[in-house]
Point group: C2
Chain length 362, copies 2
């Protein structure tokens, strides 16, 4: 097992990465009171809820099981958590534990941020995506019919427990979705890591535990480094959104949950790479490396056929990165370095949006 | 006009207190972007919305008008604010303005805390209660059917604009409710202020602007001092809840909105004074001074006839101040000094709860 510390002063917390981490010593030091509320979903609960509860016998443990899926990442579901907390009379010293993927993590973190104006929580991410992304950085929240992640809070967990064993039961498409974010870390921050991923993508895609642990560690390390530099997302942290503005538009258009978040990020990353090439920052060979690696990770590399450019523009206009009506995008200066800019010719953006299916052509 | 600064480091903000403060210079310096969303209710809007909008002609101003009353301090109403923000495409640089009493302030602040994970807001409290209480301290949130203020966030406003002119249109019962909190500041922190209130209660109750401005200033000063010392309510800040644990039980039992918050605090303060006397901290004369002053402010001084002790215990058990099953109460060591304690004989608490209507007897 490896431990990574996210350095945020008095709110610093450890990320434990390895296998067989569901043991009391990883939980108990991070639970301040006697009450614990496990929040999970109906897909993860049959697999891991009892195993987790067995480790928490010293505490008064309650649980709430929500429906699985991005479509349920709503204020109404967070309200279910509040109901459960109040019915079981949880007080300010309670600790929430998020046992599930990014949706459960985001909702549980948001519930923890708001319950009695803020209680503790621990993340136990059960998907590759949430292990490398949504469990690090303190972003919590829910979707709104008019936009993804529009309602939320910054709230840091007390600890993150990323167990590679739980990935054994993860569907292949979800592994791919997680790999999209892993690839992103290489693209925005570390060309060597990108090259390492090119060397090991077959093993990663086949679920090799040791390789996955290495990839999770480096991904979390990069994210922790970026977040520690810029907790409130005024500068470099925005790099983490590579592919996300395009991706969010795809997700919103398709209806939440029709595309996995990581899949949309995969296609969105390809669109960002294409626009970066049109701006002269990437060459054809770079674009080809990106396309090939995404494809080997089992990811979609172009937007859906039925999405016209106008629809993209419309949906991207409500993105959080829009400032005073100016669309800002995360693009690539080169493999290993990103930039956030609104300074690009609209005509080039239109070319990328119009390329559509052609982005997937080798 | 007087200006009080709440000192919270980089989140410090001014409270402007005086009359005729609806002028651009009190708003513009605190609005960072171009977008403004005024949140108000259907009772305040006809009186002050146009007057406020006229001062904000430099900005893109939207508005949302919610139903008036504590019964509407819910997550569903906050969601109305999110709807309005997203429909008008407000981005992260938007500023929300709360134009109304405590309910509007609490919901607007909570919406600002959560919209895109946090945007700016300005408080324009239109009741005496919100001017001296809920607009200072950064507490925001909504009620849950199982408990008051159970969902919320700490989020500081950029500025508070407390205009005494708007109190001219305030119903008498709401003026009394505000005076309950004013009296509380004297009781917990400043015996001289309590004596000043005894000397000037008739003028205050008749709505004398100059006296009210003085009372608001000193109340905000005391609250700002306490909050600056203890932003997250681990110690002295809990003193501000004098009368509130009993009061919340009364409000919950009656159904939100049946009692004004300040009225419930008035009765709750009398109960806290009674228990403090039973503990030997206050003498009969102190209790008499408190009862008389509350009464002169037009406040109820005993709980409702139909509330049995058992019902109080049940409702107080879910109070946020309960730690590990121990009920903690804010009581008075003397006039001008409070204490938070769970160290009192249950039998004495029962005597206070059983006293009921007798608390109102002179």
């Amino acid at each position: 097992m490896q431990t990574l510390t996210v350095d945020l002063g008095e709110r610093s917390y450890p990320i434990y990465i390895g296998s067989e981490l569901f043991t009391p010593e990883h939980f108990q030091p991070h639970i301040a009171g006697r009450q614990v509320m496990i929040v999970t979903n109906d897909r993860v609960a049959p697999l891991y809820l009892q195993r987790l509860k067995a480790q928490l016998s010293h505490f008064q443990v309650s649980e709430v099981i929500l429906p699985d899926g991005e479509a349920y990442k709503t204020l109404a579901q967070v309200n279910q958590i509040f109901d459960a907390l109040l019915q079981a009379r949880h007080n300010r010293t309670t600790t929430l534990i998020a046992l599930g993927g990014g949706v459960i993590g985001d909702m549980t973190g948001f519930a923890a941020a708001c319950y009695q104006r803020g209680v503790d929580f621990i993340q136990v991410p059960t998907t590759l995506l949430s292990q490398v992304d949504s469990s690090v950085g303190g972003k919590t929240g829910v979707n709104h019919p008019l936009g993804k992640n529009m309602i939320g809070a910054f709230h840091q967990p007390r600890a993150v427990i990323a167990d590679t064993q739980v990935l054994k039961t993860l569907p292949k498409a979800e592994l791919s979705a997680g790999l999209a974010e892993v690839i992103k870390y290489g693209l925005i921050y570390d060309a060597d890591f990108f090259a390492w991923l090119e060397a090991h993508m077959d093993g990663l895609y086949q679920g090799d535990s040791a390789l996955l642990a290495q990839a999770i560690y480096r991904s979390c390390e990069i994210k922790a480094e970026v977040v520690a530099q810029d907790e409130r997302e005024s500068g470099i942290r925005a790099w983490l959104n590579l592919g996300h503005t395009f991706g969010h538009a795809i997700e919103t258009d398709a209806g939440y949950g029709a595309w996995l978040h990581g899949e949309a990020v995969g296609a969105g990353t390809m669109m960002a790479a294409d626009l970066s090439a049109r701006l002269g920052w990437l060459n054809a060979q770079d674009v080809e490396r990106i396309r090939t690696l995404l494809q080997r990770a089992g990811l979609p590399i172009c937007p859906p056929l039925e999405m016209p450019p106008q629809r993209f523009l419309e949906l991207m206009a409500v993105d959080k990165k829009v400032l005073d009506g100016q669309l800002r995008l995360v693009l690539l200066k080169k493999i290993g370095e990103a930039t956030v800019t609104s300074d690009f010719p609209q005509a080039l953006l239109m070319q990328t949006l119009e390329a559509g299916q052609a982005l997937g052509k080798l």
